[in-house]
């Protein structure tokens, strides 16, 4: 069976720097993958290549067996949603208006938002628990709220694959766990997830697979247990091997909340 997304001997270089070469990997349609690696190793670049906003210098990215280069960005955006790290919105758009932008790949040349679009927006806001924020101004939201609203925009695209760039960045521990809850909920809804993560403690609970990027080395892939080993982390992140529990177990009470 063709995987949802496949990187085929993918290579990318900026003018003066090669980020990676010969990268092979596949994202199955039920994937929940954490992308880890030190700063500057190309996590964001890989996500942008997967979303079609960057073009590879070598190799190819295939969506259900078809090269992204052969697809229009509109049709890519109906299958793959990229939630960027930082979004700067000009003017005081409300959360509702912001999430509605996720319907852009579905709108006709002269058309506006229709009934099906509104339904998708409502569904996305319910899933991310952002309905109560709908009339708030996006730029005035707190970090945690903003993150959930950004994911709601991505879900309004009704994607098969959601790409999250540092979704837990700048969040307090409570909001981080809230976000991990959301990732698990989305998994239950059959949306594949590829997320770059710096918070290694949060990975084992929610993600089934880890991709580890390291400059100048081929990408490592494996289960969280295989990848989050102190010696390996110490080598890749160039630090003394982390001691103590690197894996945070959520309390049973918290896990129950996830089921709701």
């Amino acid at each position: 069976m063709t995987p949802l997304l496949r990187f085929a001997s993918l290579g990318f270089s900026f003018v003066d720097r090669t980020v990676f070469t010969g990268l092979h990997a596949a994202v199955p349609s039920d994937a929940c993958i954490a992308l880890i690696g030190p700063n500057g190793c190309g996590k964001t670049t890989l996500l942008r290549l997967a979303a079609g906003t960057l073009k590879p210098t070598h190799g190819d990215v295939l969506l259900r067996g078809k090269s992204l280069a052969a697809l229009s960005q509109r049709s890519i955006a109906r299958s793959i949603a990229l939630v960027p790290q930082n979004v700067e919105v000009s003017f005081g758009f409300t959360v509702q208006q912001f999430v509605e932008q996720g319907r852009t790949p579905y709108l006709k040349l002269f058309g506006g938002i229709g009934a099906t679009d509104r339904e998708a927006v409502e569904h996305a806001m319910e899933l991310t628990d952002t309905c109560s924020l709908r009339s708030r101004v996006f730029n005035q939201l707190s970090g945690g709220e903003r993150q959930r609203v950004k994911i709601a925009l991505g879900l309004a695209q009704q994607p098969s694959l959601l790409l999250l760039d540092e979704p837990t960045q700048h969040l307090d521990i409570g909001r981080q766990l809230e976000l991990i809850d959301l990732v698990k909920r989305l998994r239950h809804h059959g949306i594949a997830i590829l997320a770059s993560m710096h918070e290694l403690t949060l990975i084992e609970d929610a993600f089934s697979e880890v991709w580890m990027l390291s400059p100048g080395e081929p990408m490592r892939q494996g289960s969280p247990q295989e990848m989050l080993r102190p010696d390996l982390l110490g080598r890749v992140f160039d630090c003394p091997p982390p001691s103590g529990p690197i894996l945070l177990k959520p309390s049973p009470k918290h896990s129950e909340r996830v089921r709701l």
């Binding site: 906003t53 960005q73 852009t104």
Partner: protein, 358 residues
């Protein structure tokens, strides 16, 4: 499609929530009514007053006006009034478009040099190719559009940094370009050997005086304004998407480059029409979209019709005041809008201070 956005609204509506659909429609109807009333009232006032009742009878087909009044109303006052309303609508809508494109509420067609470009283009038509502009505004207006497109593209290239246009860069680039263009127009004036109509036209354009167009001229410019506003409708929701930033908008499948070009062409068409109607009128494209944004929120789809109507009303009132306040002399309306708009611009700049001095 314009306003069906708010179907369900949470009970805890924020303070900046845009009004409901019914309220929005009411606002549009109110603005349209106000514009109509404004036109009627403005037609009555002037050096030769015309009673409202005889005006109404005359417009309904009766003959309640004497010869002088009839002449004044139909050859002088009505064209002037319609010119003011159209110029106001055109300036406000082009301001709205440019603010969306630059993602910057300070982008007024005058401030960013688009009016200056249109002026230079139109001056070219008046001074270098006068035989073309004899047949009405045709060639002059077209050259104005070209001038506006060139200047706005130049400012955009100079001011944009990674798809954003910082306030300082935009204002400096706009200032430099429009100053150069204005002095180029003076240069054309000096080179002109006609010492006649061209100089008078240029001088009234530089002061921002609403012209006294003939009905055929008015028809050509009305077509330009209507086409410009109609072409703005499909651009509005794209400007909403563009507010997320260019890369994100491109990811969502927006054709960023095409949208940008379309906005520049349509905004330039409207600026050139406004310049042909009234020359350099400053800050209208800044004040009107800002006031509408305070009432309706930033959704460009909803803002477009409201901004067009409010712009018409605003400049109509300003021009009526300008031509009556020191009667029998006239004040160029550009002077009046600069008096009102200048402080307003500084106020907005102060609001944006954090970005300016960061």
């Amino acid at each position: 499609m314009a306003g069906k956005v708010e179907r369900i609204r949470s009970e805890s509506g924020g303070s900046s929530a845009p009004p409901h659909l019914a309220g929005y429609r009411l606002l549009l109807a109110g603005l349209a009514l106000a514009l109509l009333l404004g036109i009627l009232i403005a037609a009555c006032v002037g050096v030769v007053p015309i009673p409202l009742r005889s005006l109404a009878q005359s417009l309904l087909g009766g003959q309640a006006l004497n010869g002088d009044q009839h002449l004044i109303l139909f050859t002088i006052r009505l064209p002037r009034i319609l010119a003011a309303a159209m110029a106001g609508a055109a300036l406000s809508v082009s301001g709205l478009l440019f603010q969306g494109l630059f993602r910057n509420p300070l982008a007024d067609p005058y401030v960013i040099g688009s009016s200056g470009g249109a002026l230079l283009g139109a001056s070219f038509g008046v001074f270098i190719l006068p035989q073309l502009s004899m047949a009405g505004f045709g060639a002059t207006a077209l050259l104005g559009v070209l001038g506006a497109i060139c200047s706005i593209s130049l400012v955009y290239m100079l001011a944009s940094v990674n798809g954003r246009t910082p306030v300082v860069a935009l204002l400096l680039a706009g200032f430099a370009v429009s100053t150069m263009l204005s002095y180029c127009s003076y240069f054309l004036e000096i080179m002109d050997r006609g010492y006649g109509t061209g100089m008078r036209v240029l001088s009234s354009w530089l002061h921002g005086t609403i012209a006294q167009p003939t009905w055929p001229q008015l028809a050509v410019l009305a077509a330009m304004v209507l086409v410009g506003i109609a072409a703005s409708f499909p651009l509005t929701r794209r400007l909403n998407t563009l507010a997320l930033g260019e890369e994100y908008a491109a990811h969502l499948g927006l054709h960023v480059q095409q949208t940008r070009i379309a906005v520049i062409v349509v905004g330039s068409l409207l600026t050139a029409a406004a310049v042909a109607l009234g020359g350099l009128i400053s800050f209208v494209g800044l004040i009107v979209p800002h006031m509408m944004r305070m009432i309706l929120g930033p959704d460009h789809v909803r803002l477009l019709p409201a901004t067009a109507l409010a712009g018409g009303i605003f400049l109509l009132i300003a021009d009526t005041v300008a031509r009556t306040v020191i009667a029998p002399s006239e004040l160029p309306v550009g002077v009046l809008t600069a008096f009102i708009g200048g402080p307003f611009f500084l106020y907005l700049l102060r609001q944006a201070k954090r970005e300016v001095f960061a």
